[in-house]
Symmetry: C2
Subunit: 697 residues, 2 copies
């Protein structure tokens, strides 16, 4: 590309400038951005984040300027370099796990150590014995062993019991033989496995004396520690390019009767007795369900901020982008209108802005509940529960908080990751044509986030667990058992008022609005119970009902959590009246918009009248859009994303959208180093390639 | 990557094999696939397509095996080579424009000649005088001039009147000066411009004697015909990577007072008189609206087949993929269940399968209407209309078909491309984890299709045009003008029955079902009219209502077109009773599922009772899913996609899903040629790169 000519350098965007427009936006609202950020994250966390950000920015390897242009191999190479640097920085600065996670969050791309740092270490820690910690965990923490968690197979995703890989106990030499009997037994999608790991925690069917004992975890070395070549009888590699997540080497893995010693079966909860060659349970794995609950609660917690990136970008850009005049604007009003002033843009964007806060407070409530429950269990209170067996969805009385927490985490994981992923795409589209450019910063972020709707329980599958729990709860209510948690409480309330019905003032009372969500959930629960228990409908015929039920219940939980948060002293004591007022408007917007979207269910349940739903849409929501609009930019500012993190032309804090788009396109873009021969009668394709770019082709 | 060991080569997927499962699916239905394909496309078209496909497959340049792995520069290079080859093949085989388009459709990726072949040639043809055809068109047809259509600017998308690029008439030397006064005036997103074109049809504000006459088209040479370097005072390049469409070089373009001769303003409809230096209209550009209508109708026509690719892939794969057992299945039933048997999968996939047919027949009806209208206009009937001025949405009486066609094409373009794009993503997700792999074949296809929802009228913007037309129509009905087309007819019917109401038997009579859709549209139209004309609500406050109205009207048109098609002799005479029965079930499924999704509007309009809507969901739709299910694979087979075209592991006609995924991952995947050094204490990243891959890094 020829250097930018002077006459181009002299060009500016036509006025008003993005910088001026954003300044005007910020002048329209009094929300104290920093205070609100502190409410969301605490001052300490913000400072910590800033310190780490400064360290990252000063390291050349984290420079993002080539990210959007690089091919897969380059991106992976860079990601590996970043992962190494990060491990070294952690050591150097003595970062806690939390700080290390903050750093990876700030880098915002999956890295080749991702599954080593999380599932491999967690599995070793939780399922290994102290001797195994000595053997494997220490080396893993030290990156001598780099591992992955090899569960999913080519032919088996969600259904862990159907895994085909076998670990057969050989009593003669006291070893396990790991084997892949079919092509579909190939481990697949395993993060960090494709090129990086030298060890794997392999989930395989334990077979002793011809009998299968179900999937168990085994530590298997897969690559040579010196040469990093695959060991004999192991076939391993990367599974190829994906819709996103291409900085990660998701891998495949096949075993041809690979022998591993007895000590490589993680034995905290079960093992093969060396003397008797018998299977022995040595503890209950229900703690693992606790981990899954934690992982899902974390997804809920993150969903708000995941979505907030897209909302920040789209809101800022829609305040800068101007198209057409308002049709009803007076003749003398010549300028084009900010896109954010159009109600059709507001209705797509502002409820998502409200959702970021709703999800944030819901995630926080989930994490608090989780912490509280851990405390209880550690205090011995819940230890007996953990011995109860197959999984918390089977338990009911006794540890109702645990069961409730499990079901909530399933339903909220599904709902929140769906809201976040679909919301991000809505944000991208709200940016119009430029949303399609990589420089919008939304596309890659969205593509990388998408697996979240499938992993840790597919969002559709999970809804069955929520429904199962709600049916159980409803049965206990029908059996007149006293309520033990919020779920049984709302079901009991509903039953008590079935005859008299309800009369919620959803347009004026926020508690009534929350109650209307509870009412709809309860109605759908007892409907589903009737179908299943009275009408004996097949489970499969009810899956769609269950999906709706789970969604309804999860929406109730979000609305309730958001409402409770805004009433809590933790929030009210830290927030000035005006900000609290705007936050409450966000609550109303989120709740009423959701209610209107699901109008027919609210109406069918009797929670609201047709007239109320219609008013919610035409009056209340439209009015709230107008009221929230002036605060939009300050509200997204309070999410406190650094420009370096957003890496977006459209979402720049200073509003220099067009300058940045132009710079990235014309100055950095490597395709412009190539001069083509465009004529069909010539076989030459690239005539000239400037600089180093040639070697990349 | 080490060669595949023999023990791996010997592995097969665990049974039942995909091939067996698809064979069993095909055995469950009697739909004559070939006959149905012929009904959709005609025998002639299918044969033509097959001939072209054979030619393409025999050319090495069209080999797709590296597509999913290649970096942007490589992909663009290959796309350019393909474009050249295609131009040469066209010449060699004497392909018609239609055949050439078929070839590009089969290749299924945007190419660097894309905008030259379409908008550049169309603009020259339609807006050039015979002399200009001689000057520019011939060379363009011969690829001596390779062009693009430069309208959109960095700061201006949909609002063409706001373009900043100027073309100032200089009466002294009889030239135009093309200039970009601001950075935001830079042409942006222009297909084929970035690296390929040497000419551009530039839309610029014509300025004569200080007065602006609005945007007009000018032909500007931008690159040297020999060196292909940009000409002086022109800054041009590629705009960088995008969410998709990366085989195309969308470009930017800035002018620093570039002089072009008088003959370079396309002068069929207006020009600057050389003698008087005055602006002269020499015809009406309303024909151009005809072209836009044609382009939009084409998008409707394509939407069915665009979506059908995703539905084909997902349906076949969901028939092969098995997960879990049916909860209610008897104990002895050990095997896992085909995912396609779960109602939660059916409800996501089968209405989309129905939508492919609905959109196909709607597109066909649009194209027929368009052709009929062209015939009328050519017969002189409509020529007077073309003189009427600014645009067809302003006309009402007289050429009602043209206005109706314009509005229909806007509404249906928005609805059908939304259904197709969102449907593709739903298909990708229905494939579970493997849907995320590039080898699913859906991701790239979806990403490349996405711009369709923004271009040729943003899908949200377009709904205003539909609403405006419906409001006009409603006003004419209120003024007791007799109906002149289907829109005024349904509005008149509604008015006539407002007092008595309706009683549609939507669950048993298909004509009643169509009538219910008409009723809802009419209801919403008069509601919107009341808000605008009686209550004088601001236009901006009604945008959300207009969006809903346009969607409702477009859904009515799709349902009606599908219904009419299945009643038409063209279909009934060619279709056996069983197939017709299945097609009718698809109609019912599409219509009732849509109705249920929009339940609250149907209910609010009085078109159906709450009970009917509830029955539609819990009984009718669920029953239809069961009835359509056995025919699903044969129905997607009838779309007749060749495996080469789909390029999907999951959608293979022979069902060898796992073998193909494995082959692409382990044998082709270039990342596996790289051996990394994974340890953080080493600065080495890539230790070893096999074969040629090294040069690519």
């Amino acid at each position: 590309m020829s250097p930018t000519p002077d006459w181009v350098k002299a060009l500016k965007p036509s006025g008003p400038q993005g910088t001026e427009l954003l300044a005007a936006e910020r002048a329209r609202s009094n929300i104290p951005v920093e205070k609100l950020s502190e409410l969301l994250f605490t001052k300490e966390v913000l400072e910590q984040k800033q310190n780490i950000l400064n360290i990252l920015k000063s390291e050349k390897v984290f420079d993002k300027s080539q990210n959007y242009y690089a091919a897969r191999e380059e991106r992976f190479e860079t990601a590996l370099a970043r992962a190494k640097k990060l491990a070294n920085l952690r050591k150097k600065h003595g970062w806690t796990l939390d700080e290390y996670r903050t750093a990876t969050d700030l880098i915002s791309e999956p890295g080749p150590y991702g599954l080593h740092d999380s599932m491999f270490l967690v599995t070793l820690t939780e399922q290994g014995t102290p001797e195994q910690h000595e053997l494997f965990l220490k080396k893993a923490q030290n990156y001598e062993y780099i591992g992955c968690y090899a569960q999913t197979e080519l032919g088996h995703g969600s259904n862990v019991r159907g895994l085909e890989t076998t670990a057969t106990w050989n009593p003669d030499d006291k070893t396990f033989v790991i084997n892949s009997p079919h092509l579909t037994a190939s481990k697949w999608w395993i993060g960090s496995l494709g090129r990086t790991a030298n060890h794997a925690a392999v989930m395989a069917q334990l077979i002793i004396n011809g009998k299968s004992y179900g999937p168990h975890p085994f530590i298997v070395q897969i690559r040579d520690l010196k040469t990093h070549e695959p060991l004999e009888n192991i076939h391993v590699g990367d599974i190829g390019p994906k819709f996103g997540y291409n900085t990660m080497d998701n891998g495949f893995l096949l075993f041809n009767n690979v022998k591993i010693p007895h000590r490589n079966m993680l034995a905290r909860f079960s093992k093969v007795d060396l003397g008797t060659n018998k299977y022995v349970r040595s503890g209950s794995p229900s703690l693992i369900y606790g981990t899954l609950t934690w992982v899902r609660s974390n997804i809920v917690m993150q969903a708000g901020s995941v979505l907030a990136r897209g909302v920040t970008i789209a809101t800022r850009y829609c305040a800068i982008r101007r198209q057409f005049q308002d049709r009803d604007a007076p003749e003398w009003e010549k300028g084009e209108n900010q896109v954010l002033n159009y109600t059709m843009v507001q209705i797509r964007l502002l409820p998502l802005l409200a959702a970021t806060f709703a999800l944030h407070f819901t995630g926080k409530a989930m994490m608090d509940l989780y912490a509280e429950n851990q405390k209880r269990m550690n205090a011995g209170n819940g230890n007996d529960t953990s011995k109860r067996g197959p999984g918390p969805e089977e338990t009911q009385s006794g540890s109702d908080i645990l069961a409730d927490l499990h079901a909530s985490s399933c339903g909220l994981k599904a709902l929140s990751s769906t809201i976040a992923s679909e919301g991000l795409e809505a944000c991208r589209r709200a940016c119009g044509g430029h949303g399609y450019s990589s420089f919008s910063g939304i596309g890659t972020w969205y593509s990388d986030y998408l697996p979240t709707i499938t992993w840790e329980g597919d969002n559709y599958m999970l809804t069955q667990q929520v429904a199962r729990y709600l049916l159980k709860s409803a049965r206990s209510v029908l059996a007149s058992q006293p309520p033990t948690n919020d779920t049984t409480r709302i079901l009991t309330d509903f039953r008590a008022r079935t005859d008299v019905g309800c009369a919620f003032d959803i347009l004026h009372s926020s508690t009534d609005l929350v109650a209307a969500f509870a009412w709809r959930t309860s109605f759908l629960t007892f409907e589903a119970l009737k179908h299943r228990d009275d009408q004996k409908k097949p489970w499969n015929d009810l899956l769609v009902d269950f999906y709706r039920l789970s969604k309804a219940h999860s929406q109730y939980m979000v609305v309730k959590s958001f409402h409770d948060a805004l009433e809590s002293p933790a929030v009210t004591s830290q927030t000035d009246a005006e900000t609290l007022d705007v936050l409450k408007k966000l609550f109303w917007l989120f709740a009423l918009h959701t209610l209107e979207q699901e109008g027919s269910e609210f109406y069918a349940s009797g929670a609201c009248s047709k007239h109320q739903i219609s008013l919610a849409r035409t009056n209340a929501v439209m009015k709230l859009l107008k009221e929230v609009r002036p605060h939009a930019v300050r509200l997204v500012d309070s999410w406190a994303f650094d420009d370096w993190v957003l890496d977006s032309s459209l979402g720049r804090e200073d509003g220099k959208v067009y300058e940045d788009l132009f710079h990235r396109a014309s100055v950095i873009n490597p395709l412009n180093r190539i001069t083509v021969d465009p004529y069909p009668n010539s076989d030459v394709l690239f005539r000239k390639i400037e600089g180093e770019a040639k070697s990349k082709l």
